[in-house]
Symmetry: C2
């Protein structure tokens, strides 16, 4: 049963990398929601704070890894919105 | 401290709704990664199975809610890829 948890954690942690790579390569972030990635990055950061407060290393590690591509996508989206103005 | 956990859970659970709404409204899913949402939906489903096996209701509920917009985005992306062929 634990393996299902590890598999789930692995998938939801690394799922954002393909989107970050695609956004970096194509520079096309038009159909990506700024609201989603703002809320998501804030939420992941809160999980990180929660993990640090609880000294829960798997939680800290998983959210640090997920934060990387999510912040990249958020940055590219904000940059494209700023450029339009 | 628990409030940080609830806030984090709320954000990462509901973050996908704005993207699903945007995709439904604009029908533009071009810059959305099919790979990301395939892995993500699989991962969320694994969390759901894990939650059911552990009878962990918060885990079941959170992932059921997250699965809804994620599957919607995946469906719209697959539909747009199929249409192109």
């Amino acid at each position: 049963m634990e393996y299902i948890g590890y598999l789930a954690a692995f998938c939801t942690t690394f799922a954002f990398f393909p989107q970050a790579i695609m956004a970096i390569r194509t520079k096309d972030v038009k159909s990506i929601s700024l609201t989603m990635y703002s809320i998501l990055c804030f939420g992941i950061s809160m999980w990180l704070v929660y993990g640090i407060l609880k000294a829960d290393w798997p939680l800290i590690l998983a959210n640090l890894i997920t934060l990387l591509p999510s912040l990249t996508i958020l940055y590219l989206k904000v940059a494209s919105v700023v450029k339009k103005k």
